[in-house]
Symmetry: C2
């Protein structure tokens, strides 16, 4: 059994190198654009600057066959099951990114601090709920 | 272009009726089990009681052709683009659930307050990070 996920858009970012990309948004991740495909733009039309959202991406360069990793790739740390890490390497390589929308421009949303490289496919965008406040 | 997502497990819950299921965890969602397939159990082995995690599910009974909905299905509210709602109906019907692990039992994790019906496929589990604290 499997499910067909399809990209609704793509990340446009100055981040292009996986090896030097920050691992978390508080580690220097730059602002980026979420660029929706025209046929999905309507789904984003009610999002406004200031909104906090989760962006779900498909980390298409990750490995799917790893069930354990060294956290943060640090070989001095013991391996853990991937479900207790944010490693991109996992059975379904879905990235979860919490960002603030800073600008809207037609079928594009500008967001702060997104640790995904240029070209990363976007699967979904969801509002952050009141019970999920940010510390920032 | 599309991506193949595969279930790593399934939700076992007393919730069986989509129509009466709570829409958010603070609306009376019951505790539930995350039951991993044996081949993916290793990925969950480092999760402990007390851990806060995001569970990503595939809402296989949702519609994928809706780009706008009445928030919370309330027809007195104007339609919005689905990306500013938590509607299950969206191009990629991925559910995002923040829960606390209350018990571990081999290839199963018991979690509190999960608003997903029995049998919902699980795609991923991720730890909540320090910059994503809960209000609860």
């Amino acid at each position: 059994m499997s499910f067909q996920a399809r990209p609704v858009g793509v990340v446009a970012s100055t981040l292009t190198d996986l090896d030097t990309a920050p691992r978390q948004p508080d580690e220097g991740a730059p602002a980026a654009w979420l660029v929706f495909q025209p046929e999905f733009a309507e789904a984003a039309r009610s999002i406004s600057p200031g909104d906090e959202v989760f962006v779900l991406t498909w980390l298409d360069r990750a490995r799917r066959d790893l069930l354990e990793v060294h956290p943060r790739g640090d070989r001095t740390r013991p391996v853990e099951g991937v479900f207790s890490t944010r490693s991109p390497h996992r059975p379904n390589p879905i990235g979860l990114h919490r960002v603030t929308v800073v600008e809207t421009d037609g079928a594009r949303l500008r967001v702060d601090g997104l640790e995904a490289v240029d070209g990363t496919p976007i699967l979904d965008v969801k509002p952050v709920l009141g019970s999920e406040p940010s510390a920032r």
